[in-house]
Symmetry: C2
Subunit: 665 residues, 2 copies
């Protein structure tokens, strides 16, 4: 600890390594379950409250509107009203566009912006999320269900399947929340989502070439080559009128986006651009009768609000398996996007979002949606960002949006008759180009190569394979990383940093000096069955290398192996056996095993397994420095114990010496 | 570090936390691949050798017999001969018994003790393993393939499928070794194997009741209830002659085992007991003509050594999928048993076994076996233990056994005509009772409850479900543990242990004193996407709890949060974002983030991500003690910075103070 050796021994006030007090079994189970499923301790605030207050707070916990509605002010409503109208102007064209992406009638997209936002406003705890349909899950639903049922030949069955999938997505989302399994979403890493979303956005853009070029027939496959083939082989069907119109609107939309990024005041231009495009496009078609010259239009939209659809859920269908699968996958993806969006914006305003509770809100919202002719909704990033920038204060902006969409459904649907499809394609492309975040990918490359690999694999998988392949590849790679990390933990040789009594990795601190005759190995992870074998091999490779080095340089013979267990938070039975084997083999090689800083779990298991006795409690130290000091003391005051005859006596001898050193100093 | 505060500041010679020198990308990849796939560095010895020597040593590496055969002595042969004869006396009855378990003709079991041991003797590096068929994979093959093809109605097709499965088992084993994927076997934890083997042994014992009770018809299911029903419903078919004979032999076998455990000198009695039983049983039947009174006998065995069977591998069969699946699963299980057995005995004699190389040897052995009418073989524990105890020196004992079995096949098969099946059942039961290691399960319960859960789940799954269910349950639970461990790493609050400058968990060291105004949190694992969200929640929960405690006791206000990163070996982009979020939220709460002992990877990524600048390099310390000392110094010499007006200025102010403190002291 100090600097000179004398000083060290004087200062030395050795503290025994302690075993934490034993806890009753049921308490251990209780705390483990709590830490695993309730890490955020959601009911913390309810403690030490009278029962009545507890009930009220519990109800407020599950239905957040009860908490904030009483405090709601007119001033907040003014902000929410503006934000609500703004996101409605986005919701109508986006709703119609994304419904097309899911091969659904356009009106379903409008329905989906009416009921779900209302449900979320009651149950959700985010103040910024704007609820609506999203591009990637829409496309994914179309890709997965389209394989089973052709949406053109059998539109009713297809619609019922989509609603059923939405129901199961909601059910799955709510169950994840109820059973506190939100951590499943954590396993979709940022890199996975980045690559997957980028790939899906690319695919969505490619698909929009159908609309831009005015093609009638198009491939149902989503991969790059199929789409390219479909476009190039239909060269003679390209409609220039449609193409020119599409490019103009796309240019307009991208321009407004560019300006809004340049100057915050231009934000409104960007927010209103999609609705402006739709109005401009419709007016243009109406006056030029372009619908007769190859520009496809939406056509008639059914008037009236959402019809009930609970009876149309196809539970008895032979395709129920596919519907469940599609629901679960799209549900998780929608959840991942929604939760990530909610958390980011909550951080801006410094409030907290409970992931598991949000999942329940999302789930109920989608179950309610599936019973009222809505398909899968979540909180899309773009719409939430617009909501945030427009100055929303609470979820009331969602209610305003829903009411606006309701008005549109009741009175304005005929106005969309002449809206050209090509404008919708431009809106989708313009939104999707923002999702392809190549700068984030470059950032990943700089920061963490493996994350970049995961990201780019997901991207390539989605673009050149299929959306599902991309997802599977990315999740598998992420999992592989976790498993590999556990299977191949880091081990490091430690040296003394500038005589400071601090021992650190000689790789990181090249000036750190190793101690002659003592090898200090730091183990960088809990010792589990998955890495016990590897660690044994690695420890002995370090020892072999050290002995070889000593042989070449004829230095002090190696006599002590100090294992620094600071980072070994836990150990299982395989880990204990491994340590036992290491101890036995070190005995055979006439080396002494010393442990430094074993944690609580390690101490418990060392004691229970009797390994503690075989190592000797006097060879277990609180710090590496203490361990090294004792070894050094024996090395320099006694003859090297290797000269002694047999292993057994040597071990006893050094143990006694160690004990003596400990008592005397 | 020291004791008094003055002493501390005098002694203080701060070492900067260093970032390890950057390495070229390809070198990082190279070292990662090497560490992942070649952790034991098998070609280490070949370095710095002339080319010719390299070639010889390389060849010796892959064909170990070339290495030890030249040094082989007559003295070793004497030991190996005795051991070989001993294990042959075990191999013959066991081979016949286990073939019955796999629903194969008895002679296949003898074939399997001839070719594979010869192949292993050439390629294997263990000196103690005795090669042969094993009970659990035999039963598993029967269960999996029996579902597709009835072994009684279609014995030829069934045999071909078994051989094909053996071929694929070998292919899979060899590929695992060639591609250095031995770690897959590491993922079958000790607890998994213990429970699985125990369950399988129970199932095997239950199945033997068929032989003991002399039943002709029996269920193909392996679960407890099916077997029980099959036995009880056939109460009137029970043959008492068979039962009495079985019980007598079982008693004899268990008695010899008991005595051999009591006294090492009785080892030979135990080793010879199975053969003795077979001889006694056959003689008894021959003289009493018991085969006419309900005691089933083996009957005619084909004379002659293994016929070639390469042309019989059913690659074109419609059941090829099942054969591949059965091969892969049984191959992995056989491998896990073999490698574990090999490693344990290698440790006794202090030599090293290369897992990946052994896998190649096992794989080639089984491929060769499948072409010579042998089914799946590995190194059974019982036979290897007998080999070891009989004093084997090298793999020559396997050759002796193979030759003895060959002699049996050529000349002695007629002698087995009268061997009663009930004796074989007794031999199996007696061997299997040793596999049910309930004491090890109790040990697991004492040492690690989760391991016990894995073990008992595997056991229950196998006994009451099916062998595959048990395996899937156990592997899934083991994986879950790994994933949970990564998802929910330990965090601990540290305190000063007896003014020693050493900071340790207050749970483990109840006397460790926390420092007023400073919260020291130890993070127990690398920060990855899978735990970033959890750690953020957990860190803020610690802070909230600390602030609540301070509010209740009106102590010093919390001002510093020190994160001890000693155990954080690595971090990915999600982890860096998490730290960034923590930093931002702490700024909002007017708390200062201090890092202690970040590792090399962490430092690299902190630098690259610019997070280093936002935290401030002066707030990153080599040890917790240094970090706490600086914070304490500022706390006690300056006014609390919380009084300052805005976050930004406060941060700057404390940063400057810290820098000043650092410069002055």
């Amino acid at each position: 600890m100090g600097t000179g050796e004398n000083l060290e021994w004087e200062q030395r006030r050795r503290v025994e390594v302690e075993t934490p007090p034993a806890k009753p079994f049921y308490e251990v189970v209780k705390s483990t379950v709590k830490e695993t499923l309730f890490p955020d301790d959601p009911f913390r605030r309810l403690k030490r409250q009278p029962l009545r207050r507890k009930l009220v707070m519990g109800l407020q916990y599950f239905v957040p509107i009860l908490e904030w509605a009483p405090r709601y002010s007119l001033r907040s409503f003014r902000s929410d009203f503006v934000a609500g109208i703004t996101i409605a102007s986005l919701a109508v064209p986006q709703g119609i566009s994304y419904a097309g992406l899911a091969n659904l009638p356009p009106v379903i997209g409008l329905y989906s912006s009416f009921v779900p936002p209302l449900v979320y406003a009651v149950l959700g705890s985010s103040r910024d999320m704007a609820i609506g349909t999203v591009a990637v899950p829409s496309l994914l639903l179309a890709a997965m269900l389209g394989k089973e049922v052709n949406p053109k030949l059998n539109p009713n069955l297809y619609l019922h399947l989509v609603l059923t999938a939405t129901f199961f997505a909601g059910l799955f989302q709510a169950s994840l929340g109820i059973f506190r399994l939100g951590m499943i979403v954590d396993y979709l890493s940022h890199a996975t989502i980045l690559g997957f979303m980028g790939g899906a956005a690319t695919v969505v853009c490619l698909q929009q070439l159908k609309g831009i070029l005015g093609l009638v027939h198009f491939t149902h496959a989503t991969d790059f080559f199929s789409v390219l083939r479909s476009i190039l082989t239909q060269f003679h069907q390209w409609r220039w009128e449609s193409g020119v119109l599409g490019c103009c609107f796309l240019f307009f939309l991208l321009l407004t986006k560019y300006f809004s990024k340049k100057k915050a005041a231009f934000f409104w231009i960007n927010a209103m651009a999609p609705l402006t495009s739709v109005i401009l496009g419709s007016v243009l078609v109406y006056f030029t009768h372009a619908e007769k010259h190859g520009v496809q239009v939406i056509g008639e939209l059914k008037k009236g609000i959402n019809p009930a659809s609970a009876s149309e859920l196809a539970f008895g269908s032979p395709y129920i398996g596919t519907a469940i699968k599609a629901g679960v996958i799209t549900g998780v993806i929608a959840l991942a996007e929604g939760i990530a969006v909610g958390r980011s914006f909550a951080m801006f305003k410094n409030y907290h979002i409970d992931g598991n509770k949000e999942m329940i809100a999302f789930g109920i919202m989608n179950i309610a949606g599936s019973c009222t002719s809505c398909y899968l909704t979540t909180a899309p990033f773009s719409r939430t960002a617009v909501n945030f920038n427009a100055g929303c204060k609470t979820a009331v902006s969602n209610i305003v949006m829903a009411v606006t969409v309701m008005m549109t459904l009741l009175f304005l649907t005929p106005l969309f008759y002449y809206t050209p499809l090509v404008v919708l394609s431009s809106i989708i492309i313009s939104a999707m180009l923002g999702v392809i975040d190549y700068q984030a990918a470059i950032h990943l490359w700089k920061l963490d190569k493996f994350d970049f690999l995961v990201c780019i694999s997901a991207y390539i998988g989605v673009v050149f394979g299929s959306i599902e392949i991309g997802l599977v590849v990315a999740v598998a790679l992420s999992m592989l990383r976790v498993l590999l990390f556990v299977a191949r933990p880091k081990t490091m040789i430690l040296g003394n940093v500038l005589n400071s009594g601090t021992y650190r990795s000689v790789d990181q601190y090249p000036k750190a000096a190793t101690v002659p005759g003592i090898l200090i190995i730091h183990i960088g992870a809990p010792i589990y069955f998955a890495n016990a074998g590897y660690l044994r091999e690695r420890i002995f490779r370090w020892i072999d290398e050290e002995e070889e080095k000593i042989d070449n340089m004829s230095g002090t013979e190696l006599q002590y192996v100090v294992l620094d267990l600071s980072a070994v938070g836990n150990v299982d039975t395989s880990g204990i056996s491994m340590l036992d084997e290491v101890k036995k083999e070190l005995d055979l090689r006439n080396l002494k095993l010393v442990l430094a800083n074993p944690g609580g779990e390690m101490m418990k298991k060392l004691e229970k397994s009797m390994l503690m006795e075989s190592i000797g409690k006097e060879w277990i130290y609180l710090t590496v420095a203490e361990a090294v000091n004792t070894c050094n003391y024996i090395l320099h005051t006694c003859k090297p114990p290797k000269a002694a005859a047999t292993v057994a006596t040597t071990t006893t001898a050094t143990t006694e010496i160690a004990a003596a050193a400990y008592d005397n100093v």
